[in-house]
């Protein structure tokens, strides 16, 4: 309590509060630009921290970190262009809501979900930082492999009842993730002699191509899509409290999943978002509507990806191990400020640790308040006529994809991914599993092979770890259950979800053709 009051004294300074507001604005803008994301946002402001005092510099970094994760969801919801991989799960329901004329509500769900996720993770950080750090240390390659297996089961969830096509998409994504340098031997794979491919296929251009460019092609080709685009309502609107309470389980589970996954070094917000999304799809109150514009899907993804911000600081502050590239950059800033994160931090400068916790709370509140202003300004874009909208999407996609590595090759990847994404839409292959596979593939492979080296090539030895056994067993049960449901529906002759959607689309098309005639 004494440390908490000392920490309160440290942050109650106009300089700190102004820094939080500035950091929030920068984070929202940079996070919303496709392809940039949290690492770029934190790196951009890093030089400013060198000339600042310790607490304002932490405030700037924390505010930029939280709001950049949140900002990535704006373009995901409004333009079907996820700013960052962690927003990919938000696209599925967020953009569907925007197309249904509920873009303002979707942004409200994004902001509220992010706030809850961020605050819960801060509380988790305050109460459980040392304990969580100890548990995280028990996660070796075998346990992490189990966790990734569990995360992959969300492919079944996002594929509706078209599981076969969903898993084909997942396999394509896993393969794309393995192109380039092998993480263990350093040998290049599937480059076919191309130097540009040897460093692998960057996720951002693929993400932008699959979602944004394929959407542009789709809108250009489909008159139905053009009409639906005119429905978009710009603005920001919070759903009534009753609606939030109906989804409280997902709010809690998403926050807990995000905090826990964030505490595991090297996993990241995208993994957390997909695990949470899969959990909501399986256990959520509105699970049958998730994927078709249901706020519970947004809540699941947003609480988890924002809760990662607090979770990722657990190993960073408590152990001196950065959980992801963003916290690695933040740790650099702390070291430059003369603070050495690690076990001694809690003993030597506890007031600074508690000040960081309070700054996280303030940053999350500032992010929520700025969301109202920012989304009103930003959502004006979607009320522009379609030709202007499409050119904005294309230009942002091009610059975002180029900006990741400054390489024109990535733009060709984006174009190819766009064409493939459109063909996948025609072939009814869901796009989301490709992204899930690509995000999780490198982690899955690395941990599987490291685990196999540890167990001398015995996969069965993976089950000697109780954590891994539970996680892998859980993943197997979920996959088998979804296959059994698929077989049951097939035997009963029920049409699949996709069939129903296509049938309704065709009937609408026929009706509108009839009217025109």
């Amino acid at each position: 309590m004494e440390y908490l009051s000392q920490a309160g004294g440290l942050i109650l300074d106009w300089q700190v509060l102004v820094t939080i507001l500035a950091g929030t604005a920068i984070g929202l803008v940079v996070g919303a630009l496709p392809g940039l994301g949290s690492v770029v946002a934190v790196t951009v402001v890093l030089p400013f921290t060198f000339s600042m005092d310790t607490v304002p510099s932490i405030a700037l970094l924390v505010a930029v970190y939280c709001s950049s994760v949140f900002g990535g969801s704006f373009t995901a919801v409004l333009l079907n262009t996820p700013g960052t991989p962690q927003s990919a799960a938000t696209v599925l329901d967020g953009y569907a809501m925007t197309r249904a004329g509920k873009g303002d509500l979707a942004l409200g769900w994004v902001a509220g979900g992010s706030l809850v996720g961020g605050l819960v993770s801060t509380v988790v950080l305050v109460l459980l930082a040392p304990q969580l750090a100890a548990v995280a240390l028990r996660f070796g390659p075998i346990e992490t492999f189990g966790l990734i297996c569990l995360a992959l089961t969300c492919i079944s969830g996002v594929s509706g009842k078209n599981i076969l096509l969903g898993w084909i998409g997942g396999s394509i994504g896993l393969m794309l993730g393995s192109v380039g340098v092998d993480p263990l031997s350093g040998q290049t794979r599937f480059t076919f002699g191309s130097f540009a491919v040897s460093s692998g296929i960057e996720i951002v251009p693929v993400l932008v191509g699959l979602f944004a460019i394929s959407e542009v092609i789709y809108r250009l080709n489909e008159s139905e899509a053009s009409r639906a685009a005119a429905n978009i309502v710009p603005g920001f609107k919070l759903a009534p409290m009753k609606e939030w309470l109906l989804r409280w389980k997902t709010l809690v589970s998403g926050s807990v999943i995000g905090s826990a996954v964030g505490a595991l070094p090297g996993t990241g917000a995208a993994t957390a978002a997909f695990i949470s999304y899969a959990a909501a799809k399986r256990f959520g109150r509105f699970r049958n509507d998730i994927g078709k514009g249901e706020p519970e899907g947004i809540v699941a993804s947003e609480t988890a990806n924002n809760a990662v911000t607090g979770g990722a600081l657990v190993p960073t502050l408590a152990l001196g191990i950065p959980g992801d590239p963003v916290t690695a950059v933040m740790m650099t800033a702390l070291i430059i400020q003369g603070i050495q994160p690690g076990t001694r931090l809690f003993v030597d400068t506890p007031e600074l640790v508690y000040a960081t916790f309070l700054l996280l709370i303030l940053a999350n509140l500032a992010m929520f308040l700025s969301a109202g202003v920012f989304s009103r300004v930003f959502s004006r874009i979607v009320s522009f006529p379609q030709p202007i909208q499409l050119s904005i999407i294309v230009v942002l996609s091009v610059v975002g994809s180029y900006g990741v590595r400054g390489n024109v090759f990535d733009l060709w990847v984006m174009m190819m991914a766009g064409a493939v994404g459109y063909l996948c839409r025609i072939a009814s292959i869901p796009i989301a599993p490709i992204v899930i596979g690509m995000v999780l593939g490198p982690f899955l492979e690395q941990n599987l092979r490291q685990g196999l080296i540890l167990t001398r090539g015995s996969f069965w030895a993976f089950f000697s770890s109780p954590i891994a056994a539970v996680l892998i067993g859980g993943a197997a049960v979920i996959i088998l259950t979804s296959v059994l449901f698929l077989v049951r529906d097939w035997v009963k002759g029920k049409p699949s979800v996709v069939d129903t959607q296509v049938a309704s689309f065709l009937s609408r098309q026929e009706q509108s053709d009839g009217k025109r005639r």
Binding site: L164, D182, Q187, S391, Y422, I429
Partner: protein
């Protein structure tokens, strides 16, 4: 259903099987054989597992076409605007290093609006210029991300 339509609905499955088979065959390339004793599970171990799964899942699509895929493929679509767009994007990417970001993006932005159905030249030229300059200022000046520079701009 005509033979042409039967071929069309089985084409996605056939393409998926062919791609998986070619990549799987590629994993047996001698260049991937590793001499490192620690790498019993070498660089192509994981891709082989994934490609085998991909192949096995895609194979049934040739023989039993899911209804969703069948209906979607048989829908009659306008494809030319999309084809023009991809063609324009390819030309833009090809010209980008030579012309530079400002000039190439200005032209491409105008072409995209033209393909999207805007028939007011003043409007699409104006918006294309605004978008190009704003994105350039934001990324090149604001975020210091160096965009391709051409001979003239």
């Amino acid at each position: 259903m005509t033979i042409r339509e039967e071929v069309a609905v089985r084409l996605p499955g056939a393409v998926l099987v062919a791609v998986a088979a070619i990549l799987l065959w590629h994993t047996f390339d001698p260049s991937y054989s590793s001499r490192l004793s620690t790498l019993k599970f070498g660089p192509v171990f994981f891709p082989r597992v994934i490609l085998t799964v991909w192949l096995l899942l895609s194979l049934p699509l040739i023989f039993v076409v899911p209804r969703a895929l069948r209906r979607s493929v048989l829908e009659h679509r306008k494809v030319w605007p999309g084809v023009f767009f991809v063609f324009a994007l390819a030309i833009y990417l090809w010209l980008l290093p030579g012309l530079g970001y400002l000039l190439a993006t200005f032209l491409f932005g105008a072409v995209v609006q033209l393909i999207a159905g805007d028939r007011k030249p003043l409007r699409f030229v104006f918006w294309s210029a605004v978008l190009t300059v704003m994105s350039w200022v934001c990324f090149e000046l604001g975020l210091e991300i160096i965009l391709p520079a051409g001979k003239w701009l």
